[in-house]
């Protein structure tokens, strides 16, 4: 009875925009990329092993049998390569993939620099999925319109929570969803506006809601309008460890407002347009 009543009340739905064929094509492509990446990692591992073995054996010898000159020890390189200034390339698949990797590097380096006490941890997405290793946010590209997203668990001082990144266009295209830049007029309280050190417009806000039992849901959010104004980057740290339906245990998100804002400014200012 209930289902019939609800169906009657919903009325006739509009035509579906879910394109199963396109989803299958995207998923196949994604699986191919994952296989290639896995293969590439394995190949890189072999190369690394060879290089290490070679190095441990003393490296190449000069024709006269003496070992090569060594350079004096210097500062060791950073564990995470730093993404320097880059553009959001959305026109080609290769450009989008490049942008995604640069965003990932920018995000990883921002966390290491501005919240060194925190680390990326695996956060479940769907029940029963295969666990992926800790240490990297999950990043992906959405199409129509093109935008870049990331999600991960964050652990800091024994507090676990969720982290989300979205770099989305501000201009809405006909018939497509979009996210216009948020202003404090859209948010009832706990919001402030400002500028990054480099002069980009920033909105910061906090969302809370009672969950009925246990600590309330709480999220810190920072949105930066990127150079040129066509995209925004939004970072969120939330006390919900998403995807596994576990109850909220932490009273606050794992990253502080200050850490999140510094990360957002750092990532946003690396994007040159």
């Amino acid at each position: 009875m209930n289902q019939q009543i609800l169906d009657d009340l919903i009325g006739a739905p509009p035509p579906s925009t879910v394109d199963v064929d396109a989803i299958i094509v995207r998923q196949r492509r994604r699986q191919r990329v994952q296989r290639l990446t896995a293969g590439g990692s394995a190949a890189a591992g072999v190369v690394l092993a060879v290089v290490l073995a070679f190095g441990m054996a003393g490296g190449p010898r000069r024709p006269d049998g003496t070992p090569p000159a060594t350079t004096p020890p210097g500062p060791s390189p950073s564990a995470t390569p730093v993404a320097t200034g880059f553009r959001l390339e959305t026109g080609t698949k290769a450009g989008r993939e490049r942008t995604l990797q640069r965003l990932r590097l920018a995000l990883e380096s921002a966390l290491a620099e501005h919240a060194p006490r925190a680390k990326w941890i695996y956060m479940p997405d769907v029940p029963g999925e295969k666990r992926t290793p800790d240490g990297r946010p999950t990043m992906w590209i959405s199409e129509n319109p093109v935008f870049f997203e990331g999600r991960s668990g964050i652990s800091a001082d024994r507090v676990k929570g969720g982290f989300y990144l979205r770099v989305r266009p501000t201009e809405c295209q006909i018939g497509l969803s979009c996210s216009q830049a948020v202003t404090c007029d859209d948010i009832s309280s706990g919001c402030s506006e400002g500028r990054t050190p480099g002069g980009l417009a920033v909105v910061r806000w906090t969302e809370t809601s009672d969950t009925g039992s246990g600590p309330p849901y709480k999220s810190y959010n920072v949105q930066v309008v990127l150079r040129g104004g066509a995209y925004t980057a939004t970072l969120e740290s939330v006390n919900v460890f998403g995807g596994d339906s576990s109850p909220i245990r932490a009273s606050a998100p794992p990253l502080t407002r200050t850490e999140l804002e510094r990360m957002a400014a750092d990532v946003a200012e690396r994007i040159t347009g």
């Binding site: 019939q4 009543i5 739905p13 029940p127 969950t211 998403g242």
Partner: protein, 165 residues
């Protein structure tokens, strides 16, 4: 995925597509977002199809993914979607149903996200109290208490619209 598996996947999805779209619409009240959520479900099902098709209850798996996708979406700051320009046809219904539909939407909008999920799982997708509790990871007592208000309102709607049993 083998051809036969893909055919099985397409069939599974095709049969359930409209039900998922409607359930997603009840959760989010936005056909754009409803279709986005269903697309998430279809993508995840495809990725995990071998495990899903071998599960005892693939429907429950799909509905859990749908509900989780929506709850996940609710947590994000960019959930304030702004559909732009010309929107697709918003669907057709009898004029005298519009008021009831608005009432239903107001009822659902007045519920917290998890309460709304309880109502949709219990009264639209016909899950038991235990199944709903398991799908949402909450206690059966919570499901019962959160169902009560929804059921009462649905009954009132049924009575007012003359479609009661």
């Amino acid at each position: 995925m083998r051809r036969s598996e893909e055919d099985e996947f397409r069939s599974f999805v095709g049969v359930r597509m409209e039900r998922w779209r409607r359930a997603a619409y009840l959760l989010c009240h936005d056909w754009h977002l409803a279709d986005d959520l269903v697309a998430v479900v279809v993508g995840k099902l495809y990725r995990h199809w071998r495990r899903v098709s071998g599960a005892d209850n693939p429907d429950a798996y799909a509905q859990r993914v749908l509900t989780t996708a929506w709850l996940d979406e609710r947590r994000r700051p960019w959930r304030r979607e702004h559909p732009a320009g010309v929107l697709p046809d918003a669907g057709r219904s009898e004029p005298d149903r519009a008021g009831d539909r608005d009432k239903l939407i107001r009822l659902l909008a007045g519920l917290a996200p998890r309460q709304r999920a309880v109502v949709v799982l219990r009264f639209y997708l016909d899950h038991s109290v235990e199944e709903t509790a398991e799908l949402l990871g909450i206690s059966t007592g919570t499901v019962k208490s959160q169902s009560a208000r929804g059921l009462e309102t649905l009954r009132a709607l049924a009575y007012s619209s003359g479609s009661h049993e």
